[in-house]
Symmetry: C2
Subunit: 171 residues, 2 copies
């Protein structure tokens, strides 16, 4: 069961769904998958093909990776209002990390097919979501680039060796 | 002067303009700004508001930053087929780096206003460009995240301290 009134109020507070008209929000809410997960339950696994974005409505999940020695490296804990897997919406690739619930959690998912349906039914709504997604990715890229610059600055000799992913040669 | 025949062939080889129909490419070509720059000439400056994407058709430019001590840190050299400033198209923010020509170069620019015009005139073409942009940002984010994970793995104690920009709390 989805609480539409709650979702109508909550979704616009998330970067992804900012600026959307109510009818677009209603379309999206109708598409959302609902997942009740318990501690230790896996939500997605590193290496799998990702096909959905997940939103944390309540509870908590842990994002972690297995390093090349098979060790579990904890990356971040996500709580209410946070999300993960959004890169899958635009670029189907293997999940770069695993996600496991650490507390009983309510998650909503939006799949790549749902986004395609939105494009077919509501172009302006779709455009807004894709713009929000690109803006969010852009923000994060600025953050990670800044971190790499900072790490480079800590070792001045290496500063000119770190090639930020500013661009790539055409295929 | 723009060489439309050359641009029609060249643009689709760039990640951004992949998959576009010829009429959309022609619209975009008509919008492109043309910039002939000479060595030492500045193309954009760190801290300025960015309002355009630049494509390098020929020649070479250097991307560099000024660190907190006023030192010039070289980041990357970009040649034919590479581009910079694309985050400005979706998220008007201060330029995170400066760009200066190192060889005589021919650059094309596409501004945020041009993209708005494309949206008004050719929604499917606009959607394709925004999707390409988001996909490109997503690819880069995977690269920079992988680099941060690698740096974290080099210092195992810090591994759990580095918070990748997996998500952010809603505003």
């Amino acid at each position: 069961m989805k609480d539409e009134a709650d979702l109508l109020q909550w979704l616009p507070s998330i970067a992804f769904f900012g600026g959307l008209e109510v009818p677009t929000l209603q379309r999206i809410i109708a598409m959302l998958g609902v997942h009740h997960v318990v501690p230790e339950q896996e939500v997605c696994r590193q290496g799998e093909a990702g096909r959905a974005l997940y939103l944390v409505r309540s509870g908590e999940v842990l994002v972690w990776r297995e390093d090349e020695h098979g060790r579990r490296v904890k990356l971040v804990r996500l709580g209410p209002g946070e999300f993960f897997g959004e890169m899958a919406l635009i670029d189907i690739q293997k999940r770069s990390a695993s996600v496991t619930a650490t507390r009983p959690a309510l998650l909503y998912s939006l799949g790549t097919r749902d986004l395609l349906t939105l494009y077919n039914d509501d172009v302006p709504g779709y455009v807004m979501v894709i713009q929000n997604l690109a803006r969010e990715l852009s923000r994060r890229l600025r953050v990670t680039n800044a971190r790499l610059h900072q790490l480079a600055a800590d070792d001045e000799d290496e500063a000119t060796l770190i090639r930020p992913a500013v661009s790539r040669r055409p295929r």
